[in-house]
């Protein structure tokens, strides 16, 4: 038994990484989505638009930049799915959740910052995504992405 394992070490390592990637990735994703949905509901009252803000004179008390970002890592299982997708074409479904989670989490972090500073709304929302580690999807390394959300938090003059 041991001989078989050591004889095909790279194959076993590959399967192990797949299994770890799948199980840990799935658990992390489920927990993350749960938390995202809960916090989104909590913060839903904080208005968020990507339009420029136009306000009447004297309506705005204060405004400042708020930002939030999240870096999320790929795993071996998702990477395998993506590699196979590279071959067949079509939606790289494995990566959709990564991008979605990163974006929503970044927005949430930005909103949390704005709320903590007493803002009533965020205008001019912008989203950006970048890969971290140029080796993403190359050789034996696993890359990660960052989603950045930033906008202008506005504190209104309210009685």
């Amino acid at each position: 038994m041991l001989e078989v394992i050591f004889g095909n070490l790279d194959l076993f390592l590959f399967l192990l990484l797949m299994a770890v990637g799948y199980s840990c990735g799935t658990i992390a994703e489920k927990r993350h989505y749960k938390s995202i949905i809960r916090r989104e509901k909590e913060l839903i009252k904080l208005m968020l638009v990507n339009a420029e803000g136009h306000f009447a004179d004297g309506a705005v008390n204060n405004s400042f930049l708020v930002s939030g970002s999240m870096v999320v890592s790929n795993d071996y299982f998702k990477r395998l799915l993506a590699i196979l997708r590279n071959f067949f074409g079509g939606r790289v479904k494995a990566y959709e959740t990564l991008i979605d989670r990163a974006r929503r989490e970044a927005i949430l972090r930005m909103k949390e910052e704005a709320k903590a500073k007493g803002a009533h709304m965020i205008v001019n929302l912008r989203l950006e995504t970048s890969t971290i580690g140029r080796s993403a999807n190359k050789k034996n390394s696993v890359g990660s992405i960052e989603a950045l959300a930033y906008g202008t938090a506005v504190v209104m003059n309210r009685p």
Partner: protein, 284 residues
Amino acid sequence: MKFTPKHIDENVNVSKTHPLGELAWLVGGMLLLALVFYLVLGVTADLAVAKIPIKAEVWLGEHFVASFEANEDEALRRRLQRLLDNLPADSPLHQYTFTVQLVKNEEANALALPGGHIVVFSGLVEQAESENELAMVLAHELGHFAHRDHLKRLGRGLGLTVAAILVFGEDSAISRLMSNLFLATESGYSRQQESDADRFGLELLVNSFGHAGGATDFFARVVKKAGRRVPYLLASHPHPEDRIEELQSLIRENGYPVEKSAPLGDDLLSETEPEQEAETAVDQ
């Protein structure tokens, strides 16, 4: 404009497919493609091999044999030459420049490598008891060359590995897996190819020595030494007993005379150390 906050439960940005389901589809598709490719490659390799000029093969051989130490063995060379001299004048084998090397290895084995290189393991020479027996082995290898079997064998495994490297890259785990898997399974000749090479070898042996003595000696020893082993279900070679039977029926059919075989010449005996206990292998 009134802002009405509303939480949207549905998420259009994420597909609903289960990742394991997707994996199954993708892997299944890959396997299907690989299977089709494998079948097509097998047919085309066999067809193409007959058309590959011997010059191109010699060039290929130069790249392969670099891994073996290229020291031509004089004693074996003389024996091979005797067989070559007895080939029919129109034999395609005359286009090859054959080299024969003796490699120190306990296995009783000989290989036909592309480009006309024959490698004989010292274990085989140690065990051989007669000139005829050794000649039969060399003639059998010449049979593989005559039928271009050594190229057919490489064709499929090589094609698959090259394809994997092209698709996944030289360093990827999948390429390594493919090369391990397919170069290993394709490393033998088919039973039919072995039988054909045996037939060719027998004819050449009779042409060179005037009789068929010693033709079955090698297999007889294999049977005696390795008879207990039963890994024959998956083996690419015919069972040695079947090969003996086939050779004997060929001898009977063609009415070849069988005489006493000549003992092994001193020039070969001095080159190997007889105290080594050689293991008999069946891949000859």
